[in-house]
Structures are given as C-alpha cells and as structure tokens.
C-alpha cells in the first residue's frame, strides 16, 4: 500500500507573532537598561526600530557618499 508522508509543520503568517513577541520582549528589556546604544544593538537586535536617517538628494544620486 502506498505511504502517506509524515506531517510537516509549515511556517505561516501566524508565525510572525513569534517575531513580534520576541521584538516586544527585547524592546521592553532594552528600555530598562542603560542608554548604551551599542550594547542594546548587540543584545537586542530586533529593538532598533528607529527610521534610518534620510539620505540627501546628493547621496541618493551618488554624488556624495
């Protein structure tokens, strides 16, 4: 008789909650410790949600680095 394959757990949109939960935890933990940004970045990589600095027009067109 032909076999049925074992059930394989596939990732789906609900699993993003795992990411959001971790991020939330890291954000809360990060807010409690010192203002050392470098330390925060290393320990809580998901916490840095600030917007990236906007590039100037000169930088966008490659005139400036």
């Amino acid at each position: 008789m032909i076999n049925r394959k074992p059930t394989r757990i596939e990732l789906n949109m609900e699993d993003i909650e795992e990411y959001e939960d971790l991020k939330k935890e890291q954000t809360e933990a990060a807010s409690k410790i010192s203002n050392n940004n470098q330390l925060k970045k290393e320990q809580f990589p998901l916490t840095n949600t600030s917007n990236p600095p906007k590039k100037t027009t000169a930088q966008i067109i490659g005139y400036e680095k």
Binding site: M1, I2, T7, L11, M13, E18, Y19, P45, S50, P52
Partner: protein, 685 residues
C-alpha cells in the same frame, strides 16, 4: 439379414462387480489425472449406479462423481446431488468411516457453494446445529439438519464452538486467550478418548482433522465475503490451530491484515510445529508484519541470507562459489539437509522473494523492493500474487517512476484481465503521481468498485482525498480501510493525521495512540504525536517524540544496512565511514540516503521546536540537516532565514529569504524579507 456392427454379448456372461468397480475407479483416476473430466464424470456416473443406494460404497462413489463434477466446474450440479442425497438419507445410524465420507461430501458441497458465491447456503450446509427444518427449497439444496446430525463425537466436536465464543466478553485481543482455554479442555477430553481408543484409526483422525481445518477455512472465507471480519478471523485461526499446514488460512489472516502484529506472533507461538517443519515456521514468520520488534527476529534469517547473497553477487568474490560447492558436496554425500541448505534452496521461491520485497518496502527501501518484484514478474509473468503486484506498484509510486508505472499497469491489465482491480489501482496511482486529479479519482473508484474489500485501495483513495484537502471524503475512505485492515495501524494513523489537519487534536491523539498500541515501532506515529504536542505548545514533549521517531528510524537503518550511520549529539549524521565503503556498501548507502529523505519532515519539525524554545543554534543545525536531506526546499530556506532573523543575523536571513523567493514566491517570506532588510540597513549605519 443385416449384421449388427456390435458383437452381441452372450446373456450368460458373468462379471465380477468388484473387478468392474475397480476398473472404473482406475479409469476415473486416469481421466482426472489427464484432466479429462468429462470422461471421469461419465465413468463415475456408471460406477455410482453399479452399487446399491444407501450402501457405504454408494456414498464413496457419489463423492467420486461429485469430485469429478467439481473439477469440471459443474459446481451447482455437484452440490445439488450431494444435498439431494443427504436430504434423503437417514444419517443417524452410521459408522465412523461413513461419517468421515459424509463430512467430506458436506465439505465438497460447501466448496461448490463458495465457488458460486452462495455464502449463506455454504454456512447452512456446514452448520450442524442449525435448527432450520424448512427443506422445501426450490432446488432442494437446503439440507435437513435434523437428519444430518452425525453421531460421531470425534467428527462433530469443535465444529461449531463459535457458539461458545461470547463476542462481548472476548475482544479481538482476547481471541487467542479464548483458544488457549478451549484447547486446554479439548486436550483433556482427547487424552481420555485416546486412552479408550488406544490409538485406533490414527490415519482417519488425521484426515478428519485436515477436513475440519478446511471446513473452518471455508467458514472463514464465507464470513470474510459477508464482511463479518471478526468471525472470519475466528475461523481462520481455528483452521490453523487444527492443522498448521492450512496455509490458505494463514495467508488470509496475514494478507488482509486481520491480526495485529502481537496477535500474529501469539498465533505463531501457539502453532505446535513439528521439528521437521521448522522451515515452515520460518516462512510463516517471514510473512508476518514487517516491524522491527527486538523480541521477534525469526524473519531475519531469510533477510540476512538475501543481504548476504547480494553482497556475494556484488563483490563477485569466491565465497559464494565455495559455499555452493560445499553445499553441493554435502548434497551429493547424503540426502540430509541443514536448515541453512533448505533456506538457500527456498529463498528463490517467488512467494519468499515477495515477502522479502515486502520487508524492504516497509523499511522504505523502495529501490530494493522494486528490483525484487520486477525480477519475480520478469521470470514469472503471470504470477498473480496480489502482494507482489501491490509491492511493485507501491515501490514504483514511491520512487516516482511514472513511465515504468504506466508500462507495468498496461502489462498487468493484459495479464490479469479477469482480476484486474489491482491493475486499476496501479493506474490510479499513476495518475496521482502525475497529479491528474480527475483520472485519479475515476480509477480509484473503479478499483474499489471492482473489489471493495481490499483495504489498501481505500487507504490510497484516502491519501488522494487528503492531498486534495477533501477532509470528509478522506476520513470516509480511511474509515473503510480501517474496517477492513483490522490489524493494521496505518488507517488509524491516517485518520489521526486528518484530524490534526482540522485541529481536532484530542480525537487525533486518541486515534494515533490506538495506532501506537497496534504498532509501537513506526516512527511516523511518534512524528504525529509530536505534532500534537507542538500544536499544544508543549515543545519539550514534542522534541522527545520527534527524537524518538528519529531514533527508531536510525535503529531500522542500522539493523538493515549494518552501516555505522547515526545521529551524533549535535544531530549530525555520522557518516565518516562513507569513504571507506566498497561498491556494494556505496549502493546501500544510496538506499540509506533515500530512506533518510523520507524522515526529513521529522527533522524539520524538530528544528521548529528548538526555534520555539529559542535554542537557535540547535534549530539551525536541524534546519541545515533538513536542507541536506531535501535540497532546494523553499520552506526550509525560509525557516533558516527566519531563525537567523530571530538571532539578529539579518544578512544571512536576507540571503535565505532571497533563495526561498527565487524558488517560490510567498507572502510570509516577503514580509520577513522586508522586515529583515529594514533592520539590516539600520545595523550598517
């Protein structure tokens, strides 16, 4: 005056009736031997009319006639003549010899009824305690049971002890216990009889036992055809306990998976094989379910022998020749054979090779099972062993050899046009493989319509509905399969898997635990139990179950291939010996790798559990292992990326997301990629 072409026999010529009868019997035997059944019937009819009605000789000659009719496929006539005689005759006063021949007549009549698919009437003929006195059947075929009470306890005992069997008190598991008790009491009775009879008529007793065994077999067949599998199981077991040589009963029990593995082992232990028949016991053991039970290894003798023969062939060394030479020398010296010699001779039998191929199939070594069954059917094109054909079709399906499957099915249709349900099943498998849903459904329907009593068809049909996401229809097919394959855990496991899909975890757990009770050696059962624990957020428990599944599959590999593959503490496959393997081992390692591939989902699930527990290193490890088992799987790339993402390694995550999206575009990966990209940019500032 016109002369007659015949010489006129003188009226005074005297014949010896015994001589004529003997001559006629010789003619009948000779005709039957040469398959000239019409001649046999002609002479048997004359023989019957030469002896007086109701004499012992008349019954014997009636049996000869009816037997010739049976051989000539005149089943209705044969049965009618027997029933007509039995109805007319008063059977109350008869000797033991007469009782035996009447039992044989009833058996023959029942065989005829089986051939004409009249199962009710067949049972009625065999049922001595039936109180139906209504004889006025149109064809006179219903026997008057009040007249048929053969007053010979030796013949009558135990033929109807299903009446003693209380279905409510004895569940399937207790069936053999019932026999243990019953046989004890019978043994006591028989001992008393033996003292009285002083070993008289031992030949007759043996014959009676064989007929009784065959009668039990016929009853089993009737009940199986009437879909009463519990009673069928009862009578098959009884047939075997009466005479373990009744292979047909054994085959019916094992082929249809009527007994669980434990029951099969129990039954085999209960059959008192004589020392001369140990080889038969080994073959019986080989045909049981192919699970790896450490306490039951009788079937490994043939498997090891087959493995060794493969080694010898592949290495092309002289060991094989020397062994053969020594065997030949032994044979030439005397006619005594060692058990190994018998095995060496019997291993080339088609049915033993089929059992070995079945073993490899259940061990997921599909290439091996395919090559064995292909070889069998090449040598013996019309070999109509359904197990052999089923293993061939299933192996082709698992190996995804679509063209070969297509060609094989066409050949099967040509070869077995009369009993082609299995061929249509193969065609359904082919269409499932090429993902043609309409035709798959059409041919599964055709196969199950032609023969609705083969559980494997319904199981395949269930798999088809499951892949289509038709939950209700899949469940219905699996339930039918479960009803037919009472001793097999797979339908219950598949029902459990379907219930997991619809998130009915409690019920799923019950079904899967039931499956585990029947077969505690299947890694898939542990995988599914792990899934339930995972969905209940019990990740530690899930890890244990997934690891258990992998452990069992590892044991299986080591048992079969005797290669030193194992998982190390980090979850790596230890395959350091790989480069030291000879050609045969390399071939086997390929088999092993294809085997491992089937457990990729378990490795992947295990990785998920470690990710959920935030043990990302281990999770990454198992994801990588999963990727090495099935490369270029987009979902594994996404999972790897997700794991790196959660760890904060955004560049690696982005790489894997891109790899995944290059194979398959999906929303989940796109969302994660977007998030990872934004975080990655921040890190580079």
């Amino acid at each position: 005056m016109a002369t007659s072409i015949f010489e006129q026999s003188p009226p005074t010529l005297i014949f010896n009736s015994t001589t004529i009868e003997d001559q006629l019997k010789c003619k009948i035997d000779s005709s039957v031997l040469t398959h000239s059944y019409t001649s046999a019937i002609f002479f048997a009819d004359k023989l019957l009319n030469l002896v007086p009605l109701n004499s012992k000789k008349y019954i014997e000659n009636l049996y000869i006639l009816c037997n010739a009719l049976y051989c000539d496929k005149q089943y209705q006539r044969s049965s009618f003549l027997i029933q007509k005689y039995l109805n007319q005759r008063n059977l109350k006063h008869q000797g033991e010899d007469e009782a035996l021949i009447i039992l044989k007549l009833k058996y023959l009549s029942a065989k005829c009824k089986i051939e004409t698919n009249e199962f009710d009437q067949c049972l009625q003929i065999l049922d001595n305690n039936h109180n139906n006195t209504d004889n006025n059947n149109e064809d006179g075929s219903i026997i008057n049971n009040t007249n048929n009470n053969i007053n010979n306890s030796n013949i009558n005992d135990n033929l109807d002890d299903y009446d003693d069997y209380d279905e409510e008190n004895y569940t399937g598991k207790d069936l053999l216990k019932f026999y243990v008790n019953m046989n004890k009491s019978n043994t006591d009775n028989k001992n008393d009889e033996n003292i009285n009879n002083n070993n008289n008529n031992s030949k007759n007793n043996k014959e009676i036992l064989i007929i009784k065994s065959n009668i039990a077999l016929i009853k089993g067949k009737c009940f199986e055809n009437m879909d009463n599998l519990k009673k069928a199981k009862f009578w098959y077991i009884k047939a075997l306990l009466l005479d373990y040589n009744c292979y047909e009963a054994f085959e019916s029990l094992t082929k249809s998976h009527l007994l669980t593995f434990q029951e099969e082992i129990q039954l085999l232990k209960k059959l008192n094989f004589q020392a001369d028949d140990i080889w038969l016991k080994e073959i019986y053991a080989l045909s049981l379910k192919k699970y790896d039970n450490p306490n039951f290894t009788s079937h490994y003798n043939y498997i090891e022998l087959y493995d060794n023969s493969l080694n010898n062939n592949d290495n092309n060394n002289n060991n094989n020749n020397s062994t053969n030479t020594s065997t030949k020398t032994n044979n030439s010296n005397n006619s005594l054979l060692k058990i190994n010699d018998i095995r060496n001779k019997l291993i080339n039998c088609n049915d033993i090779l089929t059992m070995i191929s079945e073993y490899y199939f259940y061990k997921q070594q599909f290439q091996e099972s395919y090559s064995i069954t292909k070889k069998i059917l090449k040598e013996d094109k019309y070999y109509n062993n359904s197990t052999c054909i089923m293993v061939l079709i299933s192996s082709l399906f698992e190996l995804q050899l679509t063209n070969e499957l297509y060609y094989t099915c066409h050949q099967l249709i040509d070869s077995f046009s009369q009993n082609s349900s299995i061929s249509w099943y193969g065609i359904a498998c082919y269409y499932q493989l090429i993902q043609n849903s309409d035709l798959t459904q059409k041919f599964f329907t055709k196969a199950t319509t032609l023969n609705s009593r083969i559980g494997a068809f319904w199981l395949g049909f269930g798999h088809f509905f499951a892949t289509k996401g038709e939950h209700d229809q899949a469940m219905a097919a699996y339930r039918t399969s479960s009803r037919l394959l009472t001793g097999c855990h797979l339908p219950l496991l598949c029902i459990g898997m379907e219930l997991i899909r619809v998130h009915n975890l409690n019920l799923a757990s019950q079904y899967i635990l039931q499956a585990k009770d029947i077969c505690p050696y299947d890694p898939m059962t542990f995988n599914e139990l792990g899934i339930i624990e995972y969905k209940n957020s019990q990740f530690e428990e899930a890890i244990k179950l997934f690891e258990m599944a992998l452990e069992i599959s590892k044991i299986k590999n080591n048992n079969n291939n005797q290669l030193n593959y194992s998982f190390n503490s980090n979850g790596n496959i230890n395959n350091n010996n790989r480069f030291k393997l000879n050609n045969n081992e390399k071939k086997k390692s390929m088999v092993m790798m294809s085997y491992m591939e089937s457990w990729e989902p378990t490795v992947y699930n295990l990785a998920h559990c470690y990710r959920k527990l935030r043990r990302y290193d281990l999770a990454l490890h198992y994801y990588n292992m999963s990727l090495s088992l099935i490369p270029n799987n987009p979902s594994t790339f996404t999972a790897l990326g997700f794991c790196y993402h959660l760890q904060g390694s955004f560049d690696e995550a982005i790489d894997y997301y891109h790899q995944s999206l290059s194979i398959r575009d999906d929303t989940f990966t796109n969302v994660l990629l977007h998030k990872a990209l934004s975080l990655s940019i921040l890190n580079y500032d």
